[in-house]
């Protein structure tokens, strides 16, 4: 199919200000190249990622959703990343039971010093999404 050969996945990334967003900045200052498929939204904490944001992105057709926070024990707000971890696990279960592909949602701990890990994560996720193909939601809404 012509469409799938041109398919470029789009990832919405919700990154915490203190660790992963800063790690993404470090990838930049280190000039690490990664696929341009990711769109970053800076939030103060991974614990501030409302499941509604993830659902919204999924329903609106994002092919992948990345949530990035500080490593366990390193949260700037003490325990926000643990909250994120519990919520993401629950959300994925719910999405799965509703017939969504929960593997389009990734939660990763990436610290401010892990620019390379951020670049690598985007690379891996983009590859995985090429394999999956477009989010079927895109078609559902297409008129």
């Amino acid at each position: 199919m012509a469409e799938s050969s041109e398919f470029e996945p789009k990832i919405i990334a919700f990154l915490c200000n203190w660790c992963t967003y800063t790690g993404a900045d470090l990838a930049g200052t280190s000039r690490l190249q990664y696929p341009p498929n990711v769109r970053i939204i800076r939030l103060m904490c991974s614990g501030a990622v409302d499941p509604m944001y993830v659902l919204k992105a999924d329903l609106a057709g994002a092919d992948g959703i990345l949530i990035g926070g500080c490593h366990p024990g390193d949260c700037h707000y003490q325990e926000g990343n643990y909250k994120a971890r519990r919520r993401v696990i629950a959300l994925k279960e719910i999405l799965k039971s509703a017939g969504f592909d929960e593997d389009r949602i990734w939660l990763r701990w990436i610290s401010a010093s892990e620019g390379a890990r951020f670049a690598e994560t985007v690379r891996e996720m983009t590859e995985a999404l090429y394999a999956k193909g477009p989010n079927p939601m895109r078609q559902t809404w297409a008129v």
Binding site: A27, T29, D50, A57
Partner: protein, 579 residues
């Protein structure tokens, strides 16, 4: 419709080399909320900032988006600039098209340009709904509580008091000085620790700005930086009421309002019962370093505790529990290499014909004149250093037998010792973990308090207004403890340099009409900043305590909780713009 201006920065070649900045400007000009868009070589330069300020006036902009470097880099610069032009700083934000676009997609200019457009659009979407805010102004009490009257606590108290601010120094024991009061002499110069300490103690006790409470402990803490309220309990002083037995006396309770807290609770020796391979606490002639200090302070000769005979063969065991995660603690206690050298030398001075052995894994003598000092022990005093671990210490026929190895010769070593001195780990003071919970500051797995950043903020905790000094934060020797105490004092004085405090206004707020008073936000808040109003029955936010993490927004089923300028509709709007 908003009247937002978008300023696209070339950053020389840094952005413009990859992103087609003209195309970004053209795209943004089509956005209904954008009334003006322009590109320029360097937005952070004086002419660049001038361009922003003039455009605000010319086009009556009510918001500014600077598509340039990371907000961590220049957002504060641009906020200051728009404020000069009369626009509220919080109506200005950076769109990160350098660190997160041009520098990471150098091979794909088309995709990079498209990404830059979408990011700029998403920030326009956010700024559109940004509130104009002013920094929070909070009162500040210029009084400090220092917890712990050892050398670190006394130093911090003296530095702050000398700067003219009142200090309350509380100490759990019935005397000041802490562990240093138990030492015979300090290393490097052998100066008698009690003399050094006596001078400090007198300075503290006679200082008009320091109020010292002995036999006292913190029982509760409330409030926040600049406005803490602490309850202190003091055991009644038996000397003052000699008639009544001590345990029948009511403890005294005090309440203090303080603006800053220095935690300097120090350490305790490791429990030797946890080192059974070294005889635990069963063998009388095996002592720990602190007990040996006591022996050095008494009389001339060093005698065996078991029978009082002169100790002619003394074995020092370094890392007796330190750097040994299986039997003791994983960390290095840092001071043992140095104090063992000192103790061995002092022993040789007392018992010149005796032999001192030191078992060591490595000698860690990093510090000014430190290695020279250890060399003195080896060369001038003839202390025999054996590189290897001691595997077992046991009692046999009135002697204490030490089994070890010398890895430099590859031989097993057996010494029939009169006295064995174990350099056991420095361990956090009892009650450290409980005190951490009470003060809302975190501790590591052992009970040492965690600093805010291991490299760049080593004297602060993550709770604003609470600082650390001395071994409470991790093993240190006296000069390091004193340095950190002075550092903590400097942080307190920095806080006290203002009459009132300002804080970020990006905190949570509540839409009262939507609040069902379910209390989810109260439970989820890590800072205790939430409360259900007892009369009006909706959640309230203590803006001074709130750090703006957003946990309450997610927890709130009605989305009555919102963080200022990170509102749910702002984030959802950004998602839309990016897809």
């Amino acid at each position: 419709m908003s009247r937002i201006g978008v300023f696209v920065c070339h950053c020389g070649h840094n952005i413009a080399g990859t992103v087609d900045v003209k195309a970004v400007v053209e795209q943004l000009q089509r956005n209904g909320d954008v009334v003006f868009a322009i590109d320029y070589k360097y937005m952070c330069s004086d002419p660049g900032q001038q361009l922003i300020r003039e455009s605000i006036a010319k086009y009556q902009l009510d918001g500014v988006v600077v598509a340039a470097c990371s907000p961590a880099m220049h957002e504060s610069t641009f906020r200051r600039t728009v404020e000069i032009a009369g626009l509220n700083g919080y109506r200005c934000e950076s769109a990160n098209i350098r660190e997160q676009v041009s520098w990471v997609h150098q091979q794909d200019k088309v995709a990079a340009t498209q990404k830059a457009v979408e990011i700029a659009e998403s920030i326009v979407e956010k700024v559109k709904r940004n509130e104009a805010l002013e920094p929070l102004v909070l009162p500040l009490t210029h009084r400090t509580l220092v917890i712990g009257g050892g050398i670190a606590g006394m130093q911090a108290a003296l530095d702050i008091a000398e700067a003219g601010y009142p200090v309350i120094l509380i100490e759990r024991q019935d005397h000041l000085g802490g562990r240093m009061a138990e030492l015979s002499g300090s290393y490097l110069n052998f100066q008698a620790a009690p003399d050094l300490l006596e001078r400090k103690t007198q300075q503290v006790l006679t200082h008009p700005n320091i109020q010292t409470l002995l036999n006292a402990e913190v029982t509760s803490l409330s409030g926040y930086v600049g406005n803490f309220r602490v309850q202190v309990k003091q055991k009644a002083d038996a000397a003052e009421s000699p008639v009544m037995p001590l345990d029948e006396l009511q403890p005294l309770s005090f309440t203090f309002d303080v603006g800053a807290i220095v935690v300097a609770t120090g350490w305790q020796p490791y429990d030797r019962a946890r080192l059974p391979e070294y005889g635990g606490v069963e063998i009388p002639d095996v002592v720990d370093g602190l007990t040996f200090e006591k022996m050095l302070r008494q009389g001339d000769g060093i005698r065996r505790p078991s029978d009082g005979k002169l100790a002619r063969e003394v074995v020092f065991v370094q890392c007796a529990g330190s750097r040994d995660p299986e039997h003791g603690v994983s960390y290095c206690s840092k001071v043992c290499c140095m104090y063992v050298a000192k103790q061995a030398m002092l022993y040789k001075e007392r018992v010149p014909d005796g032999q001192a052995y030191v078992f060591y894994i490595d000698i860690r003598s990093a510090g000014k004149n430190y290695d020279e000092y250890v060399q003195r022990a080896m060369i001038d005093y003839g202390v025999l250093y054996l590189r290897g671990k001691v595997s077992r210490i046991f009692r046999e026929g009135g002697q204490t037998v030490v089994w070890g190895s010398d890895t430099l010769t590859g031989r097993a070593v057996e010494i029939a010792a009169d006295l064995v001195v174990l350099a056991t780990p420095m361990f956090p003071s009892s009650g450290s973990i409980e005190l951490g919970q009470l003060l809302h500051i975190s501790t590591d797995g052992y009970g040492f308090f965690n600093e805010a950043h291991p490299k760049l903020r080593p004297v602060e905790t993550l709770t604003a207004g609470i600082y650390l000094a001395g071994v409470a934060q991790g093993p240190k020797d006296i000069p390091e403890s004193v340095s950190q105490a002075s550092g903590a004092a400097a942080k307190v004085l920095q806080l006290f340099s203002k009459n009132e405090m300002t804080a970020s206004p990006l905190v949570a707020s509540v839409i009262e009409e939507l609040c069902a008073a379910c209390g989810a936000c109260v439970k989820v808040c890590p800072y205790g900043a939430r409360q259900i109003h007892p009369i009006w029955n909706y959640a309230t936010v203590n803006a001074a305590l709130c750090q703006g993490c957003g946990a309450c927004v997610v927890a709130c089923p009605n989305k009555a909780s919102q963080v200022r300028n990170w509102r749910v509709e702002q984030v959802l709007g950004m998602v839309d713009k990016l897809l």
